[in-house]
Amino acid sequence: MSTSNLKQILADGAWRQNTGLVVLLGLCPLLAVTNTLVNGLALGLATMLTLMVSNLSVSVMRGLLKPEIRIPAFVLIIASVVTVIELLMHAYFYDLFRVLGIFIPLIVTNCAIIGRAEAFASRNSPLPSLMDGFATGLGFCITLVLLGALRELTGRGTLFSGADMLLGDWGRHLSLTVIPEHPGFLLAMLPPGAFLGLALLIAARNAWEARKLDTPTSPITTLIPGTHET
């Protein structure tokens, strides 16, 4: 496996086919938990870990998985991985577990995970599959973090609040009050804020891509945003 190929996978997963902003999969957790940056980061990391382990397992077993049992096997693998992550979080990141609660087991229902197992890991060798899981997870995680930061900043005027839940006591020092005496902007904290925030992020990404297309010297000319949707 050449490095350029791995780079290609990374760019595809994290940017060109970004789960949150381009493929628009897994929106339920994405919209639900991103009221703060730390919540978004935690769910993003858990999803990334799930993607990597499930992609790797599926890829290792791909020779054994006949087409007719492929889907139930994926479901079994993904469900096991997610439950293990849930148990570990419950034991070692208890406060975070309480905040994210139901959305950890709901990672199972994130179509992006079974989608990557089907579209990539079942057809590729372990290393690229692991890379694909990492890249897709990274893209999803970045989206969650950006949306979380956007909503936390506009809704509460803080950033990294609750970082101690993820990082232990020293995370408390990370918590920033960017806008002191912020009165609280309810719209950003409630579900409509999630939709609006996501729309803004998608618009920003599309604008970025469109600008690149307009530049004749751009090396990437085949890219038209939105054509990757399935």
Binding site: L64, L65, L76, I77, V84, L88, Y92, G184
Partner: protein, 221 residues
């Protein structure tokens, strides 16, 4: 092997094997994390309790010395109320009760209320609620100090008429745009005090759940 002629059997076996591996993995991780999870949950409850009754004021095992009571005339909710009892050298110090205010704006508000043996409120905390964010949620300690207004209150402070929000002629603040949530909390705390006054003796004297369970277990043998 004749497996190739029976693709269904082969596939089923393979699927079974994956399920078995998954189960084994989960069982292993569960075994590893089980004790720590229980410990974390206990710690969490203890932290909540200690916020109201400082750990230095009692020396019994708070989490073991519990009873459950059920009195819908006071608590207006069918769910049993869990009572943690704090004692110092077997002398009653305080009770901590998990009560539910059923008349929040958006359903149940779960509260933890601490009452000292002399009948004073040591503190109240909201454990969970679904009140409107921004309007009803200043009942949370994270959002405002309102809930601390119950500290040191008792049935005589204020008298019965004062146990209401200001709009209803009482002594407790309501929030701008939200009267229902504070009203529900005030009423629930007041009822808890009334129950405590009427049942003080039995609250402290009833044998703890774990002990009565132990005795019941022994009797069966």
């Amino acid at each position: 092997m004749s497996n190739d002629s029976h693709p269904i059997i082969r596939s089923s076996l393979l699927l079974g094997l994956i399920a078995l591996l998954g189960t084994a993995l989960l069982a292993g991780v569960n075994e590893l994390t089980h004790e720590r999870i229980i410990e974390q949950e206990k710690l969490r409850i203890l932290q909540q309790l200690n916020e109201i009754v400082p750990g230095t004021s009692f020396n019994n095992d708070l989490l073991e010395d519990t009873i459950e009571i059920n009195d819908e005339t006071y608590f207006r909710h069918p769910a049993p109320v869990k009572v943690y009892r704090a004692r110092m050298d077997n002398q009653p110090v305080a009770v901590l009760m998990t009560i539910i205010a059923p008349d929040g704006y958006n359903g149940d508000i779960r509260l933890l209320t601490g009452i000292s043996a002399s009948g004073e409120v040591l503190g109240v905390r909201v454990v969970s609620h679904r009140e409107t964010p921004g309007l009803g949620d200043p009942i949370e300690i994270e959002k405002s100090n309102w809930i601390l207004g119950f500290n040191n209150r008792s049935l005589q402070n204020p008298e019965t008429d004062g146990w209401a929000v200001k709009r209803d002629g009482g002594q407790f603040d309501q929030f701008t745009g939200a009267t229902v949530s504070p009203r529900a909390v005030v009423k629930a705390v007041h009822n808890t005090l009334l129950y405590f006054e009427a049942n003080k003796q039995s609250l402290f004297d009833t044998p703890a759940l774990s002990e009565s369970a132990k005795t019941a277990g022994e009797n069966e043998h």
